[in-house]
């Protein structure tokens, strides 16, 4: 066995991916847009697949969101997790249909459902993953979300990489200091051990997080978060520009086109 430094699939990588995702450092189309328009864009693509039963339209919609996700420069971690889920769902659908004597129709129906779900999921990846948390939180405020939720979004994005790293450190500590053991049959013993570390890690994580949350909330208090007078000021910063209008218009046209080709493919 020889250890080496890995650039992907390591704790450090996940942390970096979280930061990259959370702060939209990859740039991308939606990072530059007004959050309200992005949310509107998302709603359009989230609703559209449910309004059709044409296979062609659904595939077209899927292609639209896939292109959007590419333009949004979605990172490998998020995309990888999405693909794993997507593929498993398909396999599951086929398997279920096969096991209970369903025919091609059943399978096709399930594929269609999964494709719709994937489209919605990909749209949300494109929209929310590349959006600056501050913008998203302001956009939510502008759309009338409770301030607590808007703050939660911004705070959550900031804390997630830090908390994850903390978890990594504690987990490493447990791994280094606890009893080593054999891998066992199929690595089950090791899996079990890692499971117990993951659970045990929560004791220090609870207490350490409680301590830092206290400072955060105290500081929020002293800086008027609970005074709730800044809503208008924050919303006033948003502005809808040419880019926003263009993106939404182009997408709308593409969605309409997708619906248009549906019947055409069926008849033709």
């Amino acid at each position: 066995m020889s250890r080496k430094t890995r650039d992907v699939l390591s704790v450090e990588w996940v942390k970096l991916e979280l930061i990259r995702t959370a702060y939209a450092t990859r740039g991308g189309l939606f990072a530059k847009m007004d959050a309200r328009m992005v949310i509107g864009w998302y709603l359009m693509l989230a609703v559209a697949p449910w309004l059709t039963h044409s296979f062609a339209t659904i595939i077209a919609l899927f292609v639209i969101t896939a292109v959007s996700a590419a333009l949004a420069r979605v990172g490998p971690l998020v995309l990888g997790l999405f693909l794993v889920g997507f593929v498993t769902d398909f396999l599951y659908a086929f398997l279920a249909a096969w096991m209970f004597g369903g025919d091609a129709n059943t399978a096709l129906a399930l594929v269609e459902i999964n494709l719709k779900l994937a489209t919605v999921s990909l749209a949300s990846i494109a929209a929310f993953v590349s959006l600056d948390p501050e913008k998203l939180s302001t956009g939510l405020l502008a759309l009338g979300a409770p301030e607590l939720l808007a703050f939660g979004v911004s705070y959550g994005y900031r804390m997630m990489p830090i908390l994850f790293e903390e978890f990594g450190v504690v987990f490493t500590g447990l791994r280094l200091r606890s009893a080593p053991g054999a891998r066992g049959f199929l690595g089950l013993r090791a899996l079990w051990r890692w499971g117990t570390y993951a659970v045990q890690a929560f004791y220090p994580i609870f207490l350490n997080t409680a301590k830092s949350v206290r400072t955060t909330v105290e500081s929020l208090e002293t800086r008027g978060f609970t005074a709730r007078q800044g809503r208008e000021l924050r919303i006033a910063r948003l502005s809808i520009g040419a880019l926003d209008v263009t993106v939404v218009a182009v997408t709308l046209a593409a969605v309409i086109a997708a619906f248009a080709i549906g019947p055409w493919v069926m008849t033709g």
């Binding site: 430094t5 970096l16 791994r175 200091r177 080593p180 045990q200 500081s219 002293t222 800086r223």
Partner: protein
């Protein structure tokens, strides 16, 4: 001057506590003052400061008695929000105070929440006052410790407060950063008339910057005196865990009266008294003690190169071609600015990570060939933040974790012995987080010792400790040298370097700049400047007086002036 904060017989008890944390506090702070609040752990310093902005009793809803008036407002009848525009508070763990992604958002957050239309102007001004306007677009996670601290300060400054409270400014930033922060605070105090209250342990900062000093003990102020008068009460301060600065100790050691505030003043006092060092040459250099037998290498690193991926995705090389051998008996201090690669080198030496290029042989084992869990038997790595090492619900189980897990028969006896050694037996059943800063560090040392390592690696073991606790940790490290073969400590603390290390490795941008004895380091001005190091006061004083060799501790200084020096030296 008028009073801005007046406390009249204020008592406070935390919810669920069995006795009052503040007991009948009467205190007046004048507008424009620069106050240092000092006192031991648990003396109520932080609680006192939290009454100034109403966090006590509005946020901490306990039992409150007495009257606290801030800028004419009774804190009990007003809200934290109202008081916040008068009093700004910067926390010790200021990183958690930053809640917004970018510096600009962070600084504008307060004014925006209070619905002030000029929030952008206030934010800009606050950043300018602290000279951080160039950081406005940075993400807060990109900031260094010092920059993050200034950002936290700017974010309270944007509210244009009349009082600023800073809790332990030195705790989490390096000495250079701490001095920079104090300079900024002094500027705010002098040019903008802002009243500054700091909670501080370090006598040298108090004597250099504060105008008055409040000594807290057991929930009540003992006295509130001008800084000069306070400094003269050295014995009383010492009793409350605030040892005098080294230069004052140095004068006291020679029975010279006076409380110098700077090195030059101290040198003038010594010269004026006409005393000269006598037994100078007899001071034995710890590094000069050559081992009796040829040293055994504990860890050898050869042509080590390592780097990390950045957020942008490129590989940032942190270490370039490092060659380093740590021999048995070595006590190495790893120094260098932030980002010099200290922590990375330590993690590689301990086998937590493996290098991208080059090899490390730890205690005869190539770190690539063994899992990090196996290597933990050879090297113990102590994290900078102790709470990351407290994994169990008591110190005893934390210390026991490694030896018991490795199936050592004598685990329990070993744990008892180690706990006794770090003098934590009375606290063995408490959760590490409930201990004081110094006790927490000693607990992490105990965890490391129980692992029975050949190599002990400690990251900033004296950071954020008061002077007394710091000294006890240094003493503890000193005593432990017989049980571990070698120790490497990454540190900013020059007292630790001077009093403990036998070898100093200076890192600069991933390269070894120098590998030498502490005394040689402190004698090399060019190197000190280049590595941005500030020697301890006693070293500077010794050099000012032209002593050779320079004293590294007050003990050595005393020895240098007494005839019997050679025998007294331990």
């Amino acid at each position: 001057m008028t009073a801005i904060i007046e406390l009249d017989r204020v008592s406070f008890r935390y919810p669920g506590a069995s006795r009052d944390t503040l007991r009948n506090v009467c205190l007046t702070i004048e507008e424009g003052d620069f106050v240092a609040v000092i006192g031991g752990n648990g003396s109520g310093k932080t609680t006192l400061c939290k009454t100034f902005n109403g966090l006590v009793p509005h946020y901490w809803v306990g039992e409150f008695a007495g009257e606290a008036t801030v800028a004419g407002l009774d804190t009990y009848d007003s809200s934290v929000a109202e008081l916040s525009s008068t009093v700004g508070y910067v926390y010790q763990d200021f990183q958690n105070q930053l809640v917004r992604p970018r510096v600009r958002d962070e600084v504008e957050f307060g004014p925006m929440n209070f619905g002030m239309p000029d929030f952008a102007e206030r934010g800009r001004q606050a950043m300018e006052m602290l000279g951080i306007d160039h950081l406005a677009e940075r993400f807060v996670w990109q900031l260094s410790g010092g920059q993050a601290h200034l950002t936290a300060l700017a974010s309270v400054l944007a509210m244009r407060p009349r009082v600023i409270v800073v809790d332990e400014p030195v705790a989490e930033v390096d000495p250079a950063g701490a001095h920079a922060l104090y300079e900024r605070l002094t500027q705010l105090n002098r040019e903008h008339g802002i009243t500054v209250v700091v909670i501080e342990h370090h006598a040298e900062f108090i004597s250099q910057y504060a105008k008055s000093v409040v000594l807290m003990d057991d929930g009540a102020p003992v006295w509130h005196l001008p800084a000069a008068e306070a400094a003269a009460r050295a014995a009383e301060l010492e009793a409350h865990g605030i040892p005098a600065p080294q230069i004052i100790d140095a004068c006291a050691a020679l029975d010279l009266p006076g409380a110098p505030r700077t090195i030059a003043e101290a040198a003038a006092i010594v010269r004026g008294a006409g005393v000269t060092p006598r037994g100078a040459s007899s001071v034995e250099d710890a590094a000069g003690e050559s081992p009796a037998c040829p040293a055994r290498p504990v860890v050898t690193a050869s042509s080590l190169t390592h780097g990390y991926r950045t957020v942008a995705g490129d590989l940032m090389t942190v270490l370039h071609g490092i060659d380093l051998t740590v021999d048995a008996g070595d006590r190495i201090a790893l120094v260098g600015g932030n980002g010099a690669g200290k922590s990375t080198l330590m993690r590689l030496l301990g086998g937590l990570q493996v290098p991208r290029e080059g090899t490390i042989v730890l205690d005869g084992v190539d770190t690539r060939s063994a899992s990090s869990a196996r290597l933990a038997d050879h090297a113990a790595y102590l994290f900078q933040r102790p709470e990351q090492m407290f994994l169990k619900d008591s110190i005893r189980s934390d210390v026991r974790l490694h030896p018991a897990g490795r199936g050592r028969e004598d685990a329990d006896a070993l744990v008892d012995r180690v706990l006794d050694r770090v003098r934590l037996t009375p606290f063995a059943d408490r959760d590490g987080r409930t201990l004081s800063g110094g006790q927490q560090r000693r607990a992490t040392l105990a965890i490391g010792l129980a692992m029975g390592p050949a190599l002990l690696l400690a990251d900033e073991p004296t950071a954020s400790l008061d002077v007394a606790s710091r000294d006890s940790v240094i003493a503890m490290l000193d005593e432990l040298s017989d049980t571990i073969a070698a120790a490497v400590v990454a540190t900013h603390d020059m007292h630790l370097v001077a009093e403990w290390a036998t070898r100093v490795v200076v890192l600069e941008q991933g390269r070894i700049l120098a590998d030498l004895a502490p005394r040689a380091l402190f004698g090399d001005d060019a190197l000190l400047t280049r590595a941005r190091l500030v020697p301890p006061q006693i070293v500077s004083l010794g050099r000012e007086l032209g002593m050779d060799p320079v004293p590294l501790s007050v003990g050595q200084w005393r020895d240098a002036f007494t005839a019997a020096g050679a025998e007294v030296h331990a």
